[in-house]
Every structure is written in structure tokens, then in C-alpha cells.
Symmetry: C2
């Protein structure tokens, strides 16, 4: 499949490299084509990898991942272009983390809105699915780094898109359990979880962890 | 032990009834003595139960639980009185839920502060431990309602108080795993988790659930 990955940071590189390893054609998008990080990634990732602007990656992908940093996400999605993303599934991984006030980061979206909802408002013709934002990027593409059973969440307004993304999580990345939290406003739940994730990270001294919902 | 329970709602009644069942002397505190809910609870709970003002319950307890609703917590703690709580351990269960804008509730504290921290600032001579606020009140006092292993968190500035509260959680309420998240600012983590809890509650259609941290 042709896939666009928006963002050249550690999350974008991890997702994009995994997708190439799975045999997909991946175009990494950033603010301007030919940037250092994207170009280096393409060199390492090989023939299935390419890079360009956000708009290039969005128009290239039949499926698009938003791996930009939260603070730049909406600007990146605007640059990607609503027309280039029309009708497509956008897997939104970004978290609204504000590092400007030091560590640990806080959230800039508050809990009466979310980045997932803002992305969906920005792109009304795109089927936004919020997922993967509750774990470290290495765990996103290799959940077996965490022992035993644990859960991933999806949230979005389009049932078909959530079903497709759940299949991708399971068959491409190896997730065994995916919980549907409801419409895109449930992104408030998974984004608001980040302050707890950060504290658990501090207590556990490893990013290779996740939660299992137990009944 | 003589224990004060601030709050007459479902959380206060559940905690207070469990403490009485364990053989403790419990005084439930509310805005004014002789209120209907507290009086009815005393009738049901029997000889070990009593009620009074927030100040009465705070001065009675060697240990005090804050089970007030988040919106009223700071006012309740002021009424309870810093002197009456001086040197004592306050187990803070309250969540900063704002129901004024409809369901699902939002959080009024933002993620750059927490109710736990506000309580600690209000009561500098009291050892505030944030815990139990991540589960439904029935699960708080009976974690076996949730099958298998799952975790409770504690946060607070005083290591001795956290250790004492962890013992209480284990030996009185039956918790098997208690994770220390750090100082009281980690209450931001557990309080910010509530929007995710609310969405999981909607998805699971039961309040008898919790999370297990998996590594």
C-alpha cells in the first residue's frame, strides 16, 4: 500500500521504518522537501522510501499517519491539505504535549477539546482515527516489547475507518487487543492520559510499558 | 482506629461503611451537623458510626479521608480546619470533575495543577496522600470485584504517609499492588486519567474495571 507519514521525528521515523519493513511504499512528509532528517531516513530505509512536503506525503498516501509533534500538528495538517486527504483514513498519533514550561510536559488542549477533534474539524472530509498515542513509539510497532496482555484504544467518528485501523494494528503491528472508545471526542480520554503515562514512566524507569484494562 | 470521613455522598458512605465494618470508629463530616444523609448513614451503620461538621470529623479522626465532591473539596478542607488536620494523614480521593457543562464531565483543575496539590497547599501541616480516585467507589473498598491483577496508585510528599496508606489499602481494603508515582504533583496524572476512565466506562458498560500496568 502507498502510505504517507507526516513528521520526521522519532515517532514518524519508527512508524515509517516499520511500514517499509512490512513492504509498503512510504513517503515521509515534512515542512519542506529535502530536509536533513527525511533525506537521511530515506537513505537508510531504501527503495520503498521517499520524502517530500506534507502535501506530497498526503497526496501520495492511500492511508496517512499523523506523527507530527502536537504543537505543530494543525499547521502540518493544513499544509498537507484537506483536498489531498479527502476521503482517506488519517491515523492520528500526535499528543498535545507542551514542553515550553519544562519537564514534565503539560497538555495544551485542555480536557474540553482534543487534538484528535481539532484534526477532524480541520479535515471534515477525512476519516480521523485516534490511536497509538498512549504508548512509546517502539511499543506502537512492536507491542511484544511489553510482556503479557495489554490494550490499545481507537477513537473516531467512522466505524469503517476504526475497523480498518484495528485490523492494521493487529495484522501489521501485532496488537492483540484493541478497544473502541467511541467517537473522536474520546481522544480527550487518551490524550488526557498522558500526564499519568509520564508519571508511570518516571516510576517504572522504562518506556516499555502499557496498561491492560481489567474487568 | 478513630477515622474521619469528609463527605456524605456515595464515595463517603462506601468508604465510611467499609471502615465501620472493619471495626473502626468513624465520624462522617458534612457542612452542618445533623444533615439528612449523614444521620441516615449513622442509623444504618450502627454504634461505631457518628456524624458532625467537617471540623468535628477532622478533629475526631487520627486518620481522615477526603471523600467530598471535587468542586466542594477545598471549601470542605478549609471548614475542616488546618489545625484539626495538623500532622495527620489525609487520604484524598476527590476528583476535580465539573458536571456543570453536562455529561461526560470535564476537569476543572487543568493539567498544570491538581486537586491533590491544592489540598496539600491548603493544609501544609497535613500529610496528603492522593489515592483511590482512579476506580469506582465499590472497587476502592473491594478490589476483588475486578478479576485478576490490577493496580492502585499513591502520590504524596511524605514517604512515611504513603507507606502507611499503602498498608491500609492492602490490609484493610484488599489491594494487592500499589504503585508509588512520586510526590503530590503526580496527582495531576491520576486526576487527568479520569476522562479516559469515563470513556472506558462507556465502552465497557460497567464501573467494575481497573487498569493493570504491564511491563
Amino acid at each position: 500500500m502507498k502510505i504517507g507519514v507526516l513528521g520526521t521525528g522519532i515517532v514518524g521515523q519508527t512508524i515509517a521504518s516499520k511500514l517499509v519493513a512490512l513492504g509498503h511504499d512510504v513517503k515521509m512528509g515534512s515542512r519542506s522537501a529535502g530536509g536533513e532528517k527525511a533525506t537521511e531516513w530515506v537513505k537508510k530505509a531504501g527503495a520503498k522510501a521517499s520524502e517530500g512536503t506534507f502535501a506530497d506525503a498526503a497526496s501520495f498516501g492511500e492511508l496517512v499517519f499523523n506523527c507530527t509533534s502536537g504543537a505543530g500538528s494543525l499547521e502540518a495538517l493544513r499544509a498537507a491539505g484537506a483536498k489531498n486527504l479527502e476521503g482517506k483514513v488519517l491515523i492520528d498519533i500526535a499528543n498535545p504535549l507542551d514542553f515550553s514550561k519544562g519537564m514534565p510536559p503539560t497538555l495544551f488542549s485542555g480536557n474540553t477539546d482534543s487534538l484528535g477533534e481539532a484534526a477532524q474539524r480541520e479535515l471534515p472530509g477525512t476519516r480521523v482515527v485516534k490511536t497509538l498515542n498512549t504508548v512509546n513509539c517502539n511499543v506502537m510497532v512492536d507491542p511484544s516489547r511489553v510482556a503479557g496482555e495489554h490494550d490499545m484504544f481507537v477513537a473516531g467518528n467512522d466505524a469503517g475507518a476504526k475497523s480498518q485501523v484495528s485490523e492494521i494494528l493487529k495484522t501489521w503491528f501485532g496488537w492483540k487487543s484493541v478497544i473502541d472508545l467511541g467517537d473522536i471526542s474520546a481522544a480527550r480520554g487518551t490524550e488526557s492520559y498522558l500526564p499519568l503515562w509520564i508519571r508511570m514512566w518516571g516510576a517504572l524507569k522504562t518506556a516499555d510499558f502499557n496498561i491492560k484494562v481489567v474487568r
